[in-house]
Symmetry: D2
Subunit: 432 residues, 4 copies
């Protein structure tokens, strides 16, 4: 079993018992997120990009079965051999996956079966981690670590997908009725931060920075011309000004593909926004709520972010610019643990950029392409990231649905330019 | 409230108490059919034509709310006003219905809510039928009768849809594991029955024959040339001979639209058939089972039925020919009460046509068009049948999923020529 | 070579020299119709249903090559063997045809090549008809006759397709600037004609009535209840009243498929109609012209015809009713020879129905299905009509683009219910 | 009229008479390219991305009318005001353009009209350039220069589109029968060239390098890690080895979007390749010819280029790497003037990269996005390049259909990753 070239030879000094504790904590978090759901909610696929919640719960479990238990626990027996086909997402070299757009046609295995599957795998993982074979322990730990990050990624997807599923429903059902309303704040003045020209080192440092995905490597140099970055992300109030000045009706503000999308889909506001007599509301995981003008705008596509930036006389930052600004910043913010599940108005000011982490994923102007020297993970796990490097744009910084421990300054998220169901917003940049 | 012109002035002499008993029995039958389902099964819409089982349960209930309780029970309060929008199928003059292809995106109201809705409506119906307003009693009874036939129609759709939903699943889950296997029988010789030329009276006689849908009227005369009708429907074994002689590869056997469908969809056998090493199997409500060569072929489209008939040197009967043969026949057969939920080999011979009723709906060669003098029901109920009179073909006789009391010799079922998820088969005819 | 079962053993007593004269006259008429075209006009396929004019010219020629010259003139050599593939329309048993929607991608053979192909085939036909082999002369004559009717059918299609092609063009180019404007007439009062109930003989009599297509046979009996037929077709003025009373906005007037079509396509008037400041205009083969309120409405689909009839408290006639009315009527009318190429206001009154023949094809309420005893032509020619007998509705009577000699009381034209690019209108019927 | 920020204040010292000579030469070249066409060829749109040749001829003429004559020659009168709508390609701020996919539905204006339009505009341009208004001369010259580059770009598109149009035709008609066959050469050994790490200056220098498109600015610094570049582009023979080793059947070689495209479109070779008994042929502008194993492979998509590179253990160069290698190289090569209209085997070796310019556009690994400091042209001309900066990949170096004077080391061509109808090939790169 070859080691992952882009990781440390001994990636982690933790005892496997400690890994088991992490494993249990993160696995439990997925189930906690699903606790408010009705059985019926687990089954729905509201568009091709969305997966039924029960599929998420099963797929992250399959990951451990396929990549940890099957290779490293010889006495492991699958609960049901069909799951290997049903819950493979897209690993073509592992086997032909069940077609993605059909995930919503499967009532069986039922939700209770999925939980049984989770328990079955969890028991086997406990067994494996209690006495791992010495010659494989490093590789096992690497894969467990990857599997847990994978599960955290799906925790965020779960919330995005649940929101999309419930939003289709004319009843506007809330995912949770007990979500705290964010504090109302006096907005800070918008401001620009300056960054000098120079060679910047971009990407993850495998030698000293712990876990990262393969797509954050290799660490390499980029020359950046001097630039300015907005201190705050764009707010709902600012975005409303764009809308009110005809943002969705002026072709000169839009990329050609974006303008066609606007026409085809009839876009005239961010996803989930609806106009009522007294103003704009949006569907949130807490139900339909008035739009807070001071909170960062979310659920805009890259096309909308780009058009907004053009309207504002600015542009989106490149991912290298964003990462330059993020280096050295404290990674606190409105993450899933804050339990708002919605972007909130900025809490403070400080010297550097505010709300870089959490609240909303920030669209960058960078297409998602490999870094110089990029090597995907060996074997089937190499399909994790690299094969999606066309047709997508990079987003940075995590959002209000991201687990706090899951984000990094070098973390590269990516979506197609028309996608809007993520908590995606923007922050402006411009030439110095 | 105008009476239905095509029904008796006093359509029924039953006491409303008797109607309440009928109501309870038929309403209960819907729930009995759904008893074997898991909660998750209730949510799925496996194609646009299929509705989630919970939608069926709610829609048939909405029918009584919208057409009986709202107009005739002034103190009736809907359980949830949104249901009037969610569970309206296609009555455009009642209000804009929720889009059909999106029925599978609704997790809420959950299944338990739907059952509460049923209980709520059932209680109100009991109240209304216990003391109906005298001036409306005839109209109420007419609508109750229509609503119960409507519910029986949906009982059959429920089984068709459940079969389609489960068939998408690579696990091939059975709807019920306890379905009896039909008796194996020695097949009878195929044979032709003769019918003389002459004027036939076609359609339902409102004055003497009890309930019928509007599309079975008005009763009128048709001249039929002499014809022959096959004693038995076409069996799986006969259909296999067609397949083995290249039935699906010979364009000269097919209508042009059918031939394009064959190419586009890759049809090479009836729906639900799969070839295994030792022969053909098909998915049934009891799971995957070997194809019985002596049972009537089912799940063929009109295009396949028509191609088979051409291959066999025959044709499909017109609906008038079929009705002529059916007049006076005893309406026994393999209906839903037989609890096979699958067509079975012919049980007997007798003098006339065998298996006319039950087992499989028989495609006729008649396009679904209005009879001379057809008048739809007045008001919104007029959308029940008449507006579907284009692009569809008539089927006759009921099937193994039809409630026995629901069928009539004049009953006109209809599907588009490419549809295959009904229990649809065929019986041959030819010129005398 | 088997005789056509549904024709006379000796279908025609004409000398083959006379057939040659007919051949030349009808072949010439196709070229005369194309004379006003620019080379560029010959190439366009404005929708899948439309063929480029040069394709029509070649395809009708191919018909004689494939079905007359190849089998009966041994020394015949094709001008180009590829044409057999390129200009086969849909005869699957003759060979896989070139895909219909791609006809507009072929610049070559160029128009001049097509005319050379016509001359090449015409010369060979002259040779064959000058000294036909005695044992095949009857069959040759039968096929020539069929081929000439086929070419006349395509003459009408040519005009329909040219109109559609030019109508796409924002320049609104006229096919001909010299088309005579019809005389303006005082409209007659609308009126109903009465027909008694009884057995009617429907279909073509092969023994005495000369040529007909296979789909007009076999002659058979139908019982018709008493009915009324409108003396005149529906006019533009009457159709405008329907439009002004919300005809396109009232779902209760429409078949379900039609209503969806209205929404999907945004229909609010017949095809080719445009509203200008001072009223309605429509694109004609003579360019954009004001709509004449007294001329029959044209370019309406079956769905629109059916909705109009419902709005008017009437219905469409069945094809048997129409044929009953047409029997014995003189077949004069506004045909292609009148050179209006547009329906015109009724010229007279008389006792029976007016404008039954010519002006507009009249949608009937009958689906296009085989008559009792229908047998398609033997061999590949059997694909001429029979395989289209699903999903289409029958139209009767010919139109202003039909050659006068091409129509019969028994002639069954057919189009899908959404089609509008034919000169299709309607005449009302109702129960007596 | 604001100057173009990214060009010289006085962009050119040429006398306007000299500009008139250039104008005439380049305008004539478009007509020379179209000389071998039949009138029918001018009309076809074989897919949405292709435009009819007559549309190209008119659109490039419209460019001068809309952007030079209308603003700067007050007495100019359009030949036909409708052309402003018909021949606007995509300038939304100029007016709503005629829908692109419908360009092939327009037979009028006919080809002769288009040539009249060209002559009309040419005459007015001669008049304007003979005595340009002094205060606008600099702007006029800038726009003429842009218009001529625009026309040269369309000359290449014309050849690409003509090739695609003729390739649809089963007759495989050659655009020209007189195209010279390239000399057969002994292939050179493949080899790698080394480039050191360092800061590179990328983009066009407006102060000293003459004309460039806005998307080549602003000139800026990029840090490149050390890399290697292949001396030669990938040849047909090398690509065949990829095909023979299952290149089109191995998902691990492909980007996910590419793999789906392969499945959906059934790709198994470059566009225009067909297998005959004795090997591979491809359709060329000279007709169907055997594939030359030593010539560069063409008509591959980015997806195929990327998969090939992965298979070869290499990658595509970034556009900055490519430009670094191209700086200082002589821009000779197989351009349109060589009159092969097909890539040819390498003619020589030399020290640096061979065939960088001409033969085939080389896919880079860079997504088409703005350079730092990019500003589109002011006004409507700003839609020329900038609005296409999503969803496309950069290609470099020109091809056998590019006019020699049209290419630059900084020239950024772009196509979507699935596009194959350009003469697009690839050259490998890898880490040092």
């Amino acid at each position: 079993m070859p080691p992952f070239a882009q990781q440390l030879e001994t990636p982690d000094s933790l005892h496997t018992k400690e890994w088991m504790r992490r494993y249990q904590r993160i696995r439990q978090a997925s189930e906690t997120l699903c606790a408010p759901l009705c059985t019926e909610d687990f089954v729905i696929q509201s568009m091709d990009d969305v997966s039924p919640p029960k599929w998420h719960l099963a797929h992250v479990t399959w990951f451990f079965e396929a990549f940890v238990l099957s290779p490293f626990l010889p006495r492991y027996r699958p609960l049901d051999p069909a799951y290997d086909f049903l819950f493979n997402s897209y690993y073509e070299t592992h086997g032909v996956p069940f077609p993605r757009p059909c995930r919503g046609t499967l009532s069986r295995p039922v939700v209770a079966d999925i939980y049984r599957f989770r328990a079955h795998v969890d028991a086997a993982m406990a067994e494996l981690l209690a006495s791992p074979p010495a010659e494989h322990v490093a590789e096992i730990v690497r894969r467990v670590e990857l599997g847990l990050h994978h599960e955290q990624q799906h925790q965020e997807l779960l919330l995005m997908d649940i929101k999309h599923i419930l939003a289709q429903n004319p009843l506007c059902p809330a995912y949770r009725d007990d979500l705290a309303a964010p504090v109302v704040r006096t907005p800070a003045e918008s401001d620009w931060l300056e960054y000098a020209a120079g060679i910047r080192v971009i990407g993850h440092d495998m030698a000293s920075e712990g876990f990262a995905y393969d797509n954050e490597s290799s660490r390499h140099r980029q020359f950046l011309e001097a630039f300015q970055l907005a201190k705050y992300p764009v707010t709902n109030g600012e975005y409303l000004a764009f809308m009110e000045e005809g943002g969705y009706e002026r072709p000169e503000l839009w990329l050609s593909d974006g303008w066609q999308q606007v026409g085809r889909e009839g876009w005239n506001a961010p996803l989930y926004w609806v106009k009522r007599g007294d103003g704009w509301y949006h569907f949130t995981l807490g139900g339909l709520r008035p739009v807070d003008p001071h909170a960062p705008v979310a659920h805009v596509s890259f096309f909308e972010a780009d058009a907004y930036a053009r309207w504002a006389g600015a542009r989106l930052p490149s991912e290298a610019e964003w990462e330059t600004a993020a280096r050295g910043m404290v990674m606190t913010g409105n993450f899933v643990e804050a339990d708002f599940l919605q972007p909130t108005a900025a809490a403070g000011t400080g010297d550097g950029p505010v709300q870089l982490f959490g609240d909303v994923w920030e669209w960058t102007g960078s297409a998602y392409r490999p870094y110089p020297g990029f090597r995907p993970l060996p074997g089937t796990l190499g399909e994790y990231n690299g094969k999606f490097m066309s047709g997508q744009m990079v987003l940075r910084g995590g959002c209000c649905a991201t687990p706090a421990g899951h984000i990094r300054p070098t973390y590269r998220n990516f979506f197609p330019p028309h996608a809007r169901w993520a908590f995606s917003g923007l922050r402006l940049a411009r030439e110095a």
